[in-house]
Symmetry: C2
């Protein structure tokens, strides 16, 4: 049984609280952060946020999305540090040896699946959170770990994935294509897959192939010009609207 411990007081920013936490799983501690609306009415959906390679649970993108999902949509959002990232350091640059070594441990993906499962289990104890309406958002390393996780946890009902694929320099370094081959057909929840048309880390063909292999009947690919670190002008807003359609369906 995973346990949630708050590690800090909640800090308010506008209409959003951000609060540090730790999830305990079999004696291991997973550092996390939760964003939630200051004013809430009834149990709210949750979006799990997977950060990219060399990032961490509170990097700029995570904070931006946590603030947006909690502030603009009234949802809970949560991020955890990836293995050897953030408080689980030492990686702060994907060129560091520790990053490559992380991928050479064959159990790394399964451990992160288990970390996310424990995180969701621990968060589900919060009464203001509706654990039947859970989404996942994560691209790049957030998909390298997140796609296997989404495929493995039926409590996740909808996912934004992308900026990853079956070929390219980041695949050669990580060997993630083996995991994608296993898990992509098992992703059956609605998916938005985002990609950059000129991605230098995961090539175009390999990203299209990964989209093709997703088992979901209900999936869509959004592609924008630009390289790996670029983003379409409306891409975050569109991803949030996509999640909303499934986390807050309009009643007939």
């Amino acid at each position: 049984m995973a346990r949630l411990d708050w590690t800090a007081d909640a800090v308010r920013n506008g209409g959003v609280y951000e609060r540090g936490c730790a999830i305990e799983r079999q004696g291991q501690v997973i550092p996390g952060v939760v964003w939630y609306p200051a004013a809430s009415s009834g149990p709210r959906p949750l979006v799990l946020l997977g950060h990219g390679g060399s990032g961490h649970k509170r990097n700029e993108r995570m904070v931006l999305l946590g603030q947006m999902f909690a502030g603009d949509y009234g949802w809970y959002a949560a991020a955890i540090d990836g293995p050897v990232h953030g408080e689980r350091g030492p990686v702060s640059d994907a060129n560091e040896p520790a990053y490559r070594q992380m991928w050479q441990r064959p159990e790394a993906v399964q451990e992160m699946i288990d970390d996310w499962k424990a995180t969701l289990e621990a968060l589900s104890t919060l009464s203001a959170l509706d654990s039947t309406r859970v989404g996942y958002w994560g691209v790049s390393m957030g998909t390298m770990f997140g796609l296997p996780y989404v495929a493995s946890d039926p409590r996740v009902r909808v996912a934004v994935l992308g900026k990853a694929g079956m070929s390219g320099p980041s695949v050669q370094r990580s060997g993630i294509d083996t995991h994608f081959k296993t898990f992509a057909p098992r992703v059956t929840v609605p998916v938005l897959f985002v990609m950059q048309w000129d991605d230098e880390r995961f090539d175009r063909e390999g990203q299209l192939e990964l989209f093709d292999q997703l088992g979901a009947q209900d999936k869509r690919l959004h592609a924008y010009p630009g390289q790996h670190a670029d983003n379409g002008p409306e891409s975050f807003e569109v991803a949030a609207d996509f999640l909303k359609r499934y986390l807050e369906p309009i009643e007939a």
Copy 2:
């Protein structure tokens, strides 16, 4: 100078008026239809709607979009019959010889460009319409004619195109790839390109290639599973939201 003549009284459906019209261009008459909001405050944007092969200006998709754009967004929308379609018949099935013959006339694309230019010129005389905020929506044949048009009329500021490409059975029949090669690099306004992943008329590779050749810096590709006639569950709503971002930009 193109002239707009109303050919019927306006018919009200909910909050939307639909009214038949005719645009005269150099002695030729182009049959059209306009949708507009019953209640309007100030000049409204306009979206030109290009129907698909074997369709016509009032087919189900045109009416659905005209009603949505006028009713839900408060815009003007207008459709015209394509050559040998609708009131310019006789085509009501893309397998008819007249459809193939249409594409064998080398001037067909330029004539439709001129028809759309005349239509916009005629509609611009309406004082309730803001002719500086004009978008185009058209897929399949609506892109085969519409992409060259959008590339040729700087008054069009944003476009939804797609379900078309550089290869596949519909390209062999129409020879449209020649026109796409010429006009795609000249499309420089923001574009949403939609495609079906398993399109049997325009193949996947050829659609990706057409997206690649669009000259716009600001473009995005949305792909959904399914064949040519299928559509993503949220695709029309997403297209409308896309148009809205450019036709009604949020002031800073």
